[in-house]
């Protein structure tokens, strides 16, 4: 049985008045004190048992602490989905049963994660539940941020009518759910592999050999089929035979590297580099997989978590799950990541790095190594400076200095042949990608 602030105030007031009444021989004060004490005692009698055996209490008595009134209350929960995207909704239904034959007034709160917002209904209910009855409460929560979450426990409280004492019970009922990062439709702002894939993987190349998109003209080499000869160009070249070269349609291996180091969470909770990176990675994954490419993922923070390249819808959910669980921790350098993954990916595969490019002196070396091995590197860099500046956490001078340093670093990376985009917070992913590729 727990005391409320009101009951504590009543108790201290009554004791003070009682003692003062005795000292001043004032029956008026003593009478008020007695009435107050009687109020408290009556409420305590009606709320719970007297917990007189606080020492030497038997184990089985411990269960009684929550009070007899709450022992017959049972709760069950049902959620509409265990997997949802950011800004999605989950419908929750909690069924409460009163298995005793006495009507009860209950306060019930189904605990939802702090970042969630109850959109419809209420997770906090005050109710009178009749004997041998059950009732159902339902509410809808909004899921604004990716991650693993748990609903529960169900907290139940019963108190006397005057709000002096209460008993509480937690029903250990938990439901886990997963919030995937939300995805943007990025259409054609895309990266293509310059070289065909060596291993076909799980999906067949749709047009083996030549593709259909024009690439360039070159001189005829013996063995070239005659249908490839561009006669108009041949005529313009004074009889030198020219043939059309086509871009090869192929399935690419696309590797996404997501920086989830501690620094990537700089900025507000809902607007930081990691949030943007995971959303971008999810969108890119969806796009490439829909194009039947195979996509691999590397998330690095305090450890390196990788998802091997694969295709199909299952791969999408595997990657989304990893992205949902990406925590901003640790400070693993990019060079260690690239050194580890380079032997396992095909040369020429597009590599997309999603990183704020901060606090890592190995970035330039890592990108240089990748470029030296002919990987097509695209860096999408959500600028944590912008997030911080927007949140007024750095002043203008600091911002300008850091921005200059960042620009120098980006320029250096561009100089290495990487496509780099300084992704500002208000920019759509599509625009950022288009900017990175120079489209």
């Amino acid at each position: 049985m727990a005391w409320s602030r009101k009951s504590a105030m009543f108790a201290s007031l009554s004791i003070a008045m009682y003692l003062l009444g005795l000292v001043l021989r004032n029956q008026q004060l003593v009478t008020v004190a007695v009435v107050l004490l009687s109020f408290l005692t009556w409420a305590a009698l009606r709320t719970a048992h007297g917990d007189v055996a606080s020492t030497g209490k038997r184990m089985e008595d411990a269960a009684m602490d929550e009070g007899v009134q709450l022992q017959s209350i049972v709760a069950m929960r049902k959620t509409s989905s265990a997997r949802v995207f950011e800004d999605g909704e989950i419908d929750v239904t909690v069924r409460i049963q009163n298995r005793s034959g006495v009507a009860k007034v209950l306060e019930l709160r189904d605990r939802v994660p702090e970042v969630m917002r109850v959109k419809k209904g209420a997770n906090y209910v005050l109710m009178e539940i009749g004997p041998k009855r059950e009732t159902e409460i339902s509410y809808t929560i909004e899921t604004p941020l990716r991650g693993f979450y748990t609903i529960g426990p169900v907290c139940i409280r019963v108190q006397d009518e005057l709000g002096l004492f209460h008993n509480e019970k937690e029903i250990l009922l938990y439901d886990d759910f997963l919030v995937f990062p939300k995805m943007e439709d990025i259409k054609d702002a895309m990266v293509k592999s310059r070289v065909p894939k060596i291993f076909t993987g799980a999906v067949n190349i749709r047009n083996p050999g030549e593709g259909s998109n024009f690439y360039n003209l070159r001189e005829y080499i013996p063995g070239d089929p005659m249908k490839k000869v561009n006669w108009k160009a041949t005529a313009r070249q004074d009889g030198k035979m020219m043939v059309n070269e086509f871009e090869r349609d192929a399935v690419s291996d696309v590797i996404l590297i997501v920086d989830s180091r501690a620094v990537s969470e700089t900025g507000p909770v809902s607007r930081n580099s990691l949030v943007y990176s995971t959303r971008a990675a999810a969108s890119l994954t969806q796009y490439f997989l829909s194009r039947r490419d195979s996509v691999g993922l590397v998330v690095y923070g305090d450890e390196i978590v990788s998802v091997d390249r694969d295709t199909g819808k299952k791969q999408l959910y595997i990657i989304l799950t990893k992205l949902a669980g990406a925590m901003a921790k640790g400070n693993t350098p990019l060079k260690i990541v690239t050194n580890r993954i380079m032997p396992h990916i095909h040369r020429g595969s597009p590599i997309i790095i999603l990183s704020p490019l901060e606090d890592d002196p190995t970035i330039i070396d890592a990108v240089r190594d990748l470029r030296a091995r002919n990987f097509e590197v695209t860096v999408l860099s959500p600028s944590s400076l912008e997030f911080e500046f927007d949140a007024r956490r750095i002043d203008r001078t600091g911002y300008e200095v850091l921005k200059t340093e960042r620009d120098i670093l980006i320029t250096e990376l561009r100089g290495l042949g990487a496509y780099v985009m300084d992704w500002e917070p208000d920019m759509l992913l599509f625009t950022a990608l288009a900017g990175a590729r120079g489209f």
């Binding site: 003062l20 001043l24 021989r25 009698l45 048992h49 209420a122 005050l126 330039i364 007024r392």
Partner: protein, 309 residues
């Protein structure tokens, strides 16, 4: 931002050594050209930090929560009416039962030789209790209510010399009526505190319901229980108070079974009729209540109720 010493390539001069910079820093130029933000911190950007005062530190939070309520619903309005009525009766009973003699301000005014000051302070305290209470009830202002409680309790703090005295001379001298009036006064004081705090409680609940914070199923049943408790609890408290105040009659009644003479002596005893008799009564009554808790009677009653139903 991360600390400067862990930022890595802070000194970027080496980036330019022997290299051709292919392009300027577009973002920087763009940022410098387009940034129109001032460096002043807007009011809404700073989270509100409330540093607790020493009273809040002691109580572990604000003593009175400041909260805006929506217009009162029917339940709150009826509580306001009941509370106002009980305040009116309480003030009248206080005025009747509490003479200025024996109070600190009465002594002070006697020392100063200005007799009416004591009485003025006495009435002012009662007026603060009354007006503050009405204001608190109508505006649902917890500070005004607290001031009213304090004033109405403070006015009763006086050296009374065991005897019940009245503020009004024409009231009956009969001991039973005196004690019943005292009990009435005490019950009304507690009722006033309870109902006026109920106004705040139900206003909070009503506001929470209407803002969607909480959903209430079967509101009528819950308010009905509260109303019932408001009528039962004061009756029980009044009964217990009566047992303690009339101990000078109860004990002799039991003793009288064995020895009528001793019972009569007890009935006449100054100790039993004085405040110490009340204290004895309180001890006896609460020994009984404590023994009920000691044998876990409430639990057994609850278990019995659950089983029977």
């Amino acid at each position: 931002m991360a600390e400067e010493n862990s930022k890595g390539p802070v000194d970027t001069a080496h980036l330019y050594d022997g290299k051709v910079v292919r392009s300027s820093a577009p973002s920087r130029v763009k940022a410098a050209g387009t940034l129109k933000r001032d460096t002043g911190i807007p009011d809404d950007a700073m989270p509100e930090i409330e540093i607790p005062g020493w009273i809040e530190t002691i109580f572990g939070g604000p003593v009175l929560t400041t909260r805006k309520f929506l217009p009162p619903d029917r339940m709150v309005v009826s509580l306001q009416i009941w509370s106002s009525a009980s305040l009116l009766v309480l003030t009248f009973l206080t005025f009747m039962l509490t003479p200025v003699s024996g109070t600190a301000w009465f002594t002070l005014s006697n020392i100063l030789g200005i007799g009416f000051i004591g009485l003025a302070i006495h009435w002012i305290l009662m007026l603060i209790g009354l007006i503050g209470g009405f204001f608190g009830i109508s505006q649902r202002d917890q500070r005004a209510l607290l001031a009213s409680y304090v004033a109405l309790i403070l006015v009763t703090v006086r050296f009374a010399g065991s005897k019940v005295e009245y503020g009004l001379s024409f009231l009956p001298e009969d001991e039973t009526i005196q004690k019943i009036l005292l009990i009435l006064y005490a019950v009304f004081l507690v009722m006033y505190i309870e109902i006026s705090s109920g106004i705040i409680r139900f206003s909070m609940l009503d506001t929470s319901i209407r803002t969607g914070e909480v959903y209430v199923m079967n509101v009528n049943a819950i308010t009905r229980r509260y109303t019932r408790a408001l009528s039962v609890t004061p009756a029980v408290a009044g009964f217990v108070a009566m047992l303690t105040l009339f101990i000078n009659l109860i004990i002799p009644a039991f003793v009288g079974i064995l020895d009528p003479v001793a019972a009569n002596r007890l009935r006449e005893s100054v100790e039993l009729t004085s405040v110490y008799g009340v204290a004895l009564g309180t001890i006896l009554v609460f020994i009984i209540i404590a023994s009920m808790f000691a044998i876990n009677l409430p639990l057994r009653i609850q278990q019995y109720t659950e089983r029977q139903s």
